[in-house]
Point group: C2
Chain length 380, copies 2
């Protein structure tokens, strides 16, 4: 089967790479005070940049996604992670807009991260990679934007950590972004979110094969990483969607009276744990979850007291999302309203939990299309 | 400091042991078809058994608790796990009732479990211990009850897994129990509960020191067990109680830009993880969570279609308990009402999450006292 048909309207999909920081003075200065150089950013684009470069939208990914947001590369059998949202006539309409999606620094999908070669040693960084923040991720993206010759974004959007990046754009460069669409996210993590992240990290770091982060010549902490992923999966689904999908269904029709897989939900978790370790680097999991923990653009950290900004907000949350519950979106909305910022808020009554931002594309599309049309037609 | 004062009214507290199954024909036949013998049950009692032996209440413990439910043994500095509920004038009033609390089989606090010596090998059972169920736990308790010469319980009560045992008494021996008080529990686990249990078990079983369950001459899977416990702790608290207690408070006032403990909630999880591994056996964690998974007394498995029973029910759930949410208690209550069983149901509006059954003793006391008074005065 040829997938070119599935790319209809998207054209040829390819991951590009931009490297900077090779020359003195061009390094990436991090929030921690450390310096990262060189820095490679893996990115993809969909649609065409218009003549006055006013139609660019930054698509921001989650903890475990990457630059490949839409379409099929080569003979891939699965499209990019937000394929339902990016393309001709879709929420992020490639007939009108130019979408950019880049892999975060600290990641393991082409951008510089802990599994990249440390130029000082000629070996993978491991734990010598500096701790990065969401602000640092956006700083790297800003360099990419400069490289692409784009002065101002029409919008930025993403779910979960993607939503944090969408917010960080406003906190870092309000003059360079006309609107933002944070989805299923928070302006800072709650104690429960910090706690889940720490359990995932401990599962990895307590795996003896983690070896203090230097495992790239061995098997690596694949057992710990799979446990972290299994836990993650529970938090991405709602209680009701898990119940609808699995309830107490048995894999083999009867109980084994053992610790083998008896229930379908166990099988599902194992499947996803085992798949994840093939495609994701455990150290990246540590670094990116740490960036999530450190993220905090609450209150005046989002918009300083005396700053007047024109950026418009569309905030979306989902009723059954208990990992990033609606109250966290509403906290942002309340602040924006107190600052007289042009804000639209929707809580979509989904049962899919946190995963809803990937699945409720029909609802999201209606809301986002209307919002972007409004932003487009507002004089800058 | 002498703790005898704290035992006021409870008298001397001591753990007793009852062993059975030494003789042929007296073994414990398990639901799996396997046989367990000999079986030791660790138990404590509080209050006095009356002359006609009609005032006995079975107190049932959770996954990680034990037979020591109230008072201080010797120079202990912390009382039993339900001390607030058991004693003179308390919910389970030792001036009126005789409470029995026994450690479940499969456990590691004095009753026979995977860390006990296998008489066939002279070594700890490890994974040669048979998989046990909640029904098996109650079967062992029934033997203890016979040993104590008690024909009929006034009641049985406990939270979480304790509530399952309270329900199992009715399913197994409706004629031997006048009432039951299941708290913060379910008549079968949901997919999400099955999933959390599996992640905890995988954290243990993927620890190389688990060694397929045979670790009693080594350090054991303490790393995996601590991860399982950290995860458990998140599920025992509500989102709001975690937020109230920790929010994003920093341990040392500033971010470390490392993977050290930065947030107080991380420190809390580590503390509880580290404590747990000193007091609990990893294999018991596996066996008991498996029993929870297998538990299912839904519908006619609780009360067969043609059976008429006199057992009265008091079902209690807590508003913020997301591990055993109220809908699971309401499912039981709806069925009991359809069967015309004398049932009282309360949802206590607590913010403490699943832990509420240990903390909301003031509310619980009022409700339970009234209920037990009613049961007492009902002609048998």
């Amino acid at each position: 089967m040829k997938h070119e048909l599935d790319n209809s309207g998207l054209g040829h999909i390819e991951t590009h790479y931009y490297t900077f920081g090779d020359k003195p003075g061009e390094e990436l200065l991090l929030e921690s005070g450390q310096v990262l150089a060189p820095v490679t950013i893996a990115y993809e684009t969909y649609g065409q940049l218009n003549a006055d470069k006013s139609n660019a939208i930054m698509i921001e990914h989650t903890l475990t996604h990457d630059a490949h947001a839409a379409g099929f590369r080569g003979d891939e059998t699965r499209p990019g992670w937000w394929h339902d949202m990016i393309g001709p006539g879709k929420a992020f309409d490639t007939d009108k807009y130019f979408m950019i999606c880049s892999n975060v620094i600290g990641g393991c999908k082409g951008s510089t991260g802990p599994s990249s070669i440390n130029p000082k040693t000629g070996k993978p960084y491991g734990l010598d990679f500096p701790v990065i923040t969401v602000k640092d991720m956006i700083e790297a993206q800003r360099r990419l934007l400069d490289h692409l010759g784009i002065d101002k974004l029409l919008s930025s959007s993403g779910g979960s950590m993607g939503g944090m990046q969408a917010l960080q754009w406003v906190a870092s460069y309000p003059e360079r972004i006309r609107s933002t669409i944070p989805i299923a996210t928070a302006w800072k993590q709650s104690a429960q979110q910090l706690a889940f992240a720490e359990v995932g990290r401990q599962a990895i770091m307590k795996d003896p094969n983690w070896n203090n982060g230097h495992y790239y010549d061995g098997p690596g902490p694949v057992q710990g990483l799979s446990v972290a992923r299994m836990l993650g999966h529970i938090t991405y689904m709602s209680e009701i969607s898990m119940e609808d999908k699995f309830s107490r269904k048995l894999k083999k029709g009867e109980l084994s009276y053992s610790f083998d897989i008896d229930f379908e939900v166990e099988s599902y978790l194992h499947y996803h744990g085992n798949n994840f370790i093939k495609r994701f680097d455990a150290n990246s999991y540590l670094y990116i979850t740490r960036a999530l923990n450190y993220f905090d653009v609450s209150g005046e950290k989002l918009i300083p007291a005396n700053l007047k900004i024109d950026t418009k907000f569309l905030v979306i949350s989902f009723l059954s999302d208990w990992l990033y519950p609606s109250w966290q979106s509403q906290e942002i909305v309340r602040y924006l309203e107190s600052r007289n910022i042009d804000t639209v808020y929707f809580e979509i009554p989904s049962t899919y939990g946190h995963d809803a931002f990937l699945l409720e594309f029909v609802e999201e599309t209606k809301i986002i299309k209307d919002f972007l049309k409004k932003v487009e037609h507002t004089k800058d």
